[in-house]
Symmetry: C2
Subunit: 291 residues, 2 copies
DNA sequence: GATTTTTCTGTAAAAATACTACGCGAATCG
DNA sequence: CGATTCGCGTAGTATTTTTACAGAAAAATC
């Protein structure tokens, strides 16, 4: 139901072009939007100092079918509004505020990513990965941690997996690519020269280049299959945060895709890998995960 | 207004303990929650095959003041675009289902973690980290990728940071700990013997042990400061997923905490680090992130 | 197994809420 | 200055929601 992402913003912006009574309604809503979602049309009218039909007209002006519908939109747009915007950490934030903000940002990044998942490309990437004879995960900087995680997931599929941060190693391996080699390159910007060049080198061989990066970036263009996502990394921030989370989630999706492709008979294999860790644990109580 | 984030999940879970007609209402809502937010109580009642008061009672049972209030909650709880119900991936899932499920799981893990954040422990951990003379990030298995990320964040604070996956290196460093050394140990289970032993070794020195792990785990008990979270890693799954995401988010929180502690005069330093990457990019258009 | 008690559920009426039609008054334009 | 348009509120109507109550079903007790 693609409602307006931010109805409040809309109201605020159209404030100048509104009638006298409509302005009153707008102000009443803006002054306490949360309360507005729980009021009856009568209460809101009296709080704004106007008549009920004025409120109703106001609602219709903003595309709602009536007052209840308007309240619904207002409520939903506020949730998403909180999620999508204005959660930058300030220096004045204390311990009770900034952790929540950071989590909200992370959550909204995932929500946003979920909505723009390029399913087709993911399916193709799964194809490539499932059939790979060998997989190389390459990334630099922050994305290096993601490739490490990817390595950790994919070795389970009984495919040789490498993971290099050294650009020279990356180049050599890329140049030595052959049929069945998949070079999986992760770069948030898709503009890191070293990685784009690796992609170019690999393309000149028979190998396949799959990337997880930004749309229309040089890296995406150099790839046989590019999974591209626009992640609103808060540009104010000096520490990169949300992009890795999304990248990791995508890696999860790909690993799961390959698992599904392998079918149920593959589960015992995964279970064996997991069980192998039991002995490393104190009190074998529950030994669920790899860590 | 802290509504339940996952009203749908709530409904789904209380399904067994409901009356006959309430079950009907629940099913009607669950089958198309989006439509339910736009229906009148009469339509919903007839669709569910019950009377209007039954719907009303149903709403009140879930903490709403009445039907309109219930619709509001339902709508807001759904906005996040997340069907918290989905959960486990099935082998019958296709490309259009399982990615969404995985993202939903990731999102709900973060939401859950956000609600149980041990703020006090986080504040103490930030204290330790901000004053550290040296920081060692240790983890094994999946958590190793997280420590890699942590290393990547914390070196920016001009503190020597190490990150070892080799248990022997970990032990030696731990044994050599001294005042000002912080050993930050990440383990989802908190029962990995090698890591618990490292914590013990470090505790015997003047160093500080901070851990990110499970509540009441041996590792948590061996720590000067333990950030503990219960993360519902789906035990059916054979690939660990959500725990790393949460761990990464917590690392973000800690890094941000240290940044805030350093104050605004520290920003230019971070900006310089970021700028240093510009030269590695093609078309210097926008060079926002470390990757 | 019958009876009492409790719990559930629907009917119907009352209350609350939202909408429409209409008309008055102010602003605008000729 | 008059005519027209537009904005706004009043009052009535329609819709929706809630409450009160009573019958039916289920559970508990004897």
């Amino acid at each position: 139901m693609a409602y307006d992402i931010n109805l409040l913003e809309d109201i605020n912006q159209s404030l100048p072009g509104l009638n006298k009574s409509e302005v009153k309604v707008a102000q009443a809503i803006l002054s306490d939007p949360d309360a507005a979602t729980r009021m009856s049309i009568a209460s809101l009218a009296s709080r704004a100092g106007v008549s009920e039909p004025s409120v109703n007209r106001f609602c219709k002006r903003f595309g709602a079918s009536g007052f209840p519908d308007f309240k619904l939109r207002l409520a939903t747009s506020m949730v998403s509004g909180v999620r999508y915007i204005s959660r930058a950490v300030e220096f004045s934030d204390d311990i009770d505020t900034y952790p929540g903000k950071l989590f909200d940002n992370a959550i909204s990044a995932l929500v946003a990513a979920k909505e723009q998942l390029p399913t087709g490309d993911i399916a193709r990437a799964v194809d490539f990965l499932a059939q790979a004879r060998r997989i190389h995960f390459f990334g630099l900087g922050t994305s290096a941690a993601v490739t490490k995680d990817a390595e950790h997931k994919f070795f389970r599929f009984n495919v040789p997996v490498t993971n290099h941060q050294d650009p020279l190693m990356q180049r050599m391996l890329a140049a030595a690519g052959s049929v069945g080699d998949v070079f999986f390159i992760i770069s948030h910007t898709g503009r890191t020269r070293a990685l784009v060049e690796v992609a170019e080198l690999a393309r000149q061989t028979e190998a396949t280049v799959v990337s997880l990066t930004a749309p229309q970036s040089p890296l995406a263009q150099e790839s046989d299959c590019a999974i591209t996502l626009t992640i609103g990394e808060n540009t104010e921030e000096y520490l990169p945060m949300t992009s890795r989370l999304v990248q990791l989630a995508v890696i999860d999706v790909l690993a799961t895709g390959v698992t599904l492709r392998r079918g149920e008979r593959f589960l015992p294999h995964l279970a064996r890998i997991k069980d192998s860790l039991k002995a490393t644990r104190l009190k074998p109580g529950y030994a669920e995960s790899t860590e």
